[in-house]
């Protein structure tokens, strides 16, 4: 866990692309939202794994958001149900369902469909939000923070010093 935070801190304070961190968080969010046990989740995970973004950010957001995802389940279920029962989409969905491989995505499940739709909807806002936050941090906060007395005092705390140790191991990029 500490290593995860350290990697993210390194990424935040290194010259890695802010989009890597943002997309990592966005993919983690999607994976947390979509229930497991279907091909859709596996496919998204594989894509997220292959794409160049921060894995630590993805895994951390997945870990942190997974316990919160059930709170959204009713909304996801309702959305999925709404989509799957839309008369206009019936023929398309039935056609997809009868195609090879696609039924393994379990998209006719209200939760899978609902979470997938919301993942598509929220991926970009989450990405943009974290992009802005990272840029803000790098431009405004990072330099001031490193010079602040608070941080200097914080560095003396054992766990923080441990974190910094991990950070320094990875800070060869800096």
């Amino acid at each position: 866990m500490i290593s995860f935070f350290a990697k993210i801190l390194v990424a935040l304070n290194s010259n890695s692309r802010s989009a890597e961190l943002s997309s990592g968080v966005a993919f983690g969010f999607c994976l947390a939202l979509i229930p497991g046990g279907n091909l859709l989740w596996v496919m998204i995970f594989c894509i997220a794994f292959l794409l160049k973004h921060n894995l630590a950010a993805m895994l951390l957001s997945l870990l942190l958001l997974s316990p919160l995802a059930p709170l959204l389940d009713p909304l996801l279920h309702k959305t999925g149900y709404l989509i799957l029962t839309l008369p206009v989409l019936q023929n398309t969905l039935a056609g997809l369902y009868n195609m090879p491989v696609l039924p393994w995505l379990k998209f006719n499940n209200t939760m899978v469909m609902g979470s997938f739709i919301w993942s598509l909807i929220l991926w970009l806002p989450v990405f943009i939000l974290f992009q802005i936050l990272i840029v803000l941090y790098r431009n405004k906060v990072a330099s001031k923070l490193s010079e602040s007395k608070f941080i200097k005092g914080l560095k003396k705390i054992p766990i923080v010093s441990k974190l910094l140790k991990a950070y320094s191991k990875l800070s060869f990029l800096h």
Binding site: P35, P70, H77, A94, R138
Partner: protein, 715 residues
């Protein structure tokens, strides 16, 4: 090359290129995301001929930082990480290779581990083979041990084959067109050569027919036996015999000692007499000697007399003492009668009312046992079904706790069930319980998507009899009937080899045809089975001396030629809930049996007495042996007395001989003395006569002389 140029060459590759401002911004500056670093880098470059070139004379520290920034720029290029793709591909390839080369071994281990976890017993899957491309699966056989009876299998089967429809599998549907399952056996021996143990033989019944009448008539004997076992402390006969035998034993021991002692005395006397006899009669020449011999014999005789008297006294006392034990036999008979009377009061012997359903009650019991056997066959599997259900429930619970499951929306065109086994061909069984072959069609997880319910068509063959089964299980929502199973056996027999002891019949057999229907209970849960059994050509084997009831029953059933027994059995998951049996045969038997049934109480009493006599036979035998011993002692005692009398007779004879001899001598002496006396008397008398005559003559002479001298006046 100047020193400054050398330093530039040491800088990372992206910074050595001379790029125009636009390209420099795109390839270098845009890839630096820390504003301070970007500013620092801009300061380290200078435009030379419209190209951005790294400044000369940069300190070592700057070169170090340039190295780090160069790496960052390199890292930030592209959208796909190659090493991640390589890892994924390597993993996929490793899995594929491993699966292809080791899939069968993995499958075997997987099947065995899964079954061993479920059944908690050893499992053996033989040569399972799977083809991932064709979706086919074959296996030479499978055995699962029974964990409660390690020498037997819970089940086993031989060649198995099926193929998953790959087209449907790609659409997340599991369709199997045909499953072949051969050699299915339950409860078979772990040693394949050994015949399986059938549940019928376990219960001691003949397994030849579906309906076995063996149980008829065994109840009464069992009831009597258990009653006597219960009341054993209250039976007087046993207590009496126990005490009597103890006293008899003490008495026998005591008298044996006494008679042994007296036998010693008899022996001594016999030896004494023998000595006298051997000595023979002594030569007696005088009365004195005869008297002495007689006195000696008399003394021996008196001694024998005394011994005899003692023996007679002993015998008399023995008789007195044993007299009280002579009544043991009659006492035991009396006590047995009393015990039988007591037990009879406790036992409820069947009256005519109790026997009115004799056949239907017995058939009911047999059906109960028969169907319980089916449950017994299924029973070992029930805990595992429960375990599976529990596991599924736990998994469902876990899922529910973590996330909402959502619902699967049935899409209009998706009318094909997700799970479907079109046909199962199976056969199995063995020589003991019979063989079967069957066809099951249309097993599906979504029965409403099918036109037909699950159908079953099977034949169970044993020896010459066949049971045909056909039916269906309709799980569809609009099903009119959920479950229906017809079964029939056109030819078979019902045999009773061990007889019906209560009815006095040694064995019985009849041709039996039966048919029936099992269906879901219309009044609630469970399955209702209706069964019609038609008995024909009943034959009975009777004992040499059959009683009247047995004769009447056999005659009645043989006269009838055929009779029908109908039964209704209600079963549910907990077992058999009720069995109702009806038949006209009971009424016919009741009419014909009439008063004979009234005799049953006395037969019951006889049976009781017989049981008690059997039970006390050892004790009685002991008593008889002891009584015989006492009788023998009595005879011995009399023998001893008799032998004393014989000895006395012998001594008496000797004594008489001695006395006779003495008398003879005495008589001879007397005769001689008398003769001598008479001779002396005669001599004396003659002498005296002569002397008298002489004296007379002399006196007369003298008188004459005197007279002559003296003359009286007047004369």
């Amino acid at each position: 090359m100047s020193k400054a140029e050398k330093k530039i060459k040491k800088a990372p590759k992206p910074f050595r290129k001379k790029l125009n401002q636009k390209k420099w911004n795109k390839k270098i500056i845009r890839n630096i995301h820390i504003p301070a670093d970007r500013k620092w880098l801009e300061e380290r470059f200078e435009p030379v001929d419209n190209r951005m070139v790294l400044k000369k004379d940069l300190p070592k520290k700057d070169l170090k930082k340039l190295k780090v920034l160069g790496k960052a720029i390199k890292k930030n290029k592209g959208t796909v990480t190659r090493w991640k793709a390589a890892i994924l591909l390597t993993i996929a390839a490793a899995v594929a290779v491993f699966t292809i080369f080791f899939k069968n071994m993995l499958l075997e281990r997987g099947i065995e581990t899964g079954l061993e976890t479920l059944f908690e017993a050893y499992s053996d899957a033989r040569e399972p083979k799977i083809s991932l491309f064709r979706g086919s699966f074959t296996m030479d056989g499978l055995t699962v041990q029974n964990k409660d009876r390690p020498s037997r299998n819970l089940f086993e089967f031989g060649n198995t084959a099926f193929a998953v429809n790959m087209g449907q599998l790609s659409r997340n549907r599991y369709h199997i067109d045909e499953i072949t399952l051969q050699g299915l056996k339950f409860n078979s021996s772990r040693d394949s050569d050994e015949l399986p143990e059938s549940s019928v033989s376990e219960s001691g019944e003949s397994g030849d027919s579906l309906i076995d009448l063996e149980a008829l008539g065994s109840d009464a004997a069992a009831e009597i036996e258990s009653l006597i076992e219960e009341q054993i402390d209250n039976l007087q006969t046993l207590k009496y015999l126990e005490n009597a035998n103890e006293e008899l034993s003490t008495m026998t021991d005591r008298w044996e000692e006494l008679f042994d002692e007296s036998a010693e005395k008899v022996k001594e006397s016999a030896e004494q007499v023998k000595a006298l006899t051997d000595q023979g009669t002594p030569s007696i020449s005088s009365v004195q000697e005869a008297a002495e011999a007689a006195a000696e014999y008399k003394s021996a005789y008196d001694s024998l007399e005394s011994t005899k008297s003692e023996l007679e006294d002993l015998n008399s006392r023995f008789k007195e003492e044993t007299q009280q034990f002579q009544s043991i036999k009659s006492e035991v008979s009396t006590l047995i009668d009393e015990d039988v009377e007591y037990l009879s009061s406790l036992i409820e012997l069947p009256g005519i009312g109790d026997l009115k359903n004799i056949v239907s009650d017995k058939i009911k019991k047999i059906l109960m046992e028969q169907f319980s056997d089916y449950y017994a066959m299924a029973e070992p599997f029930l805990p595992y079904l429960e375990k599976l259900r529990d596991r599924q429930a736990t998994e469902e619970k876990k899922k529910k706790i973590s996330r909402l499951q959502g619902s699967y929306i049935p899409l209009e065109s998706a009318t094909i069930p997700r799970f479907l086994i079109s046909r199962i061909n199976l056969d199995g069984g063995d020589g003991s319980s019979g063989t079967f072959e069957g066809l099951i069609e249309g097993i599906s997880s979504e029965p409403d998507k099918l036109d037909q319910p699950i159908t079953l068509d099977a034949n169970w063959i044993k020896d010459t009899s066949t049971v045909a089964l056909d039916g269906f299980l309709d799980m569809r929502e609009d099903a009119e009937e959920m479950f229906l199973l017809n079964f029939s056996s056109p030819g078979g027999s019902a045999e009773l080899n061990d007889g019906m002891s209560a009815l006095g019949i040694e064995s019985a057999r009849a041709d039996l045809t039966y048919s029936g229907t099992g269906m879901s209970n219309p009044d609630g849960e469970g399955v209702l089975v209706s069964l019609d059994m038609n008995f024909n050509n009943a034959e009975f084997e009777m004992p040499d001396d059959p009683d009247m009831i047995a004769t009447l029953i056999s005659d009645t059933l043989e006269d009838l030629q055929s009779f029908l027994v109908s039964a209704e059995i209600l079963m549910d998951g907990k077992g058999i809930q009720s069995i109702a049996v009806s038949t006209d045969i009971d009424r016919v038997l009741q009419d014909r049996l009439g008063d004979l049934i009234d005799e049953l109480p006395s037969q019951g009493a006889d049976a009781l007495e017989s049981y008690i006599r059997n039970m006390i036979s050892d004790d009685l035998l002991t008593s008889e042996k002891l009584a015989s011993s006492l009788d023998a002692l009595g005879i011995e005692s009399l023998d001893q007395i008799n032998s004393m009398e014989e000895l006395q007779a012998k001594v008496d004879e000797l004594k008489n001989q001695a006395e006779d001899r003495g008398d003879a001598i005495l008589n001879e002496a007397e005769e001689k003395a008398r003769a001598e006396a008479e001779a002396a008397k005669a001599e004396a008398e003659a002498k005296a006569q002569a002397e008298a005559d002489a004296a007379k003559a002399e006196a007369e002479e003298k008188l004459k002389e005197e007279a002559s001298k003296i003359k009286l006046p007047g004369f």
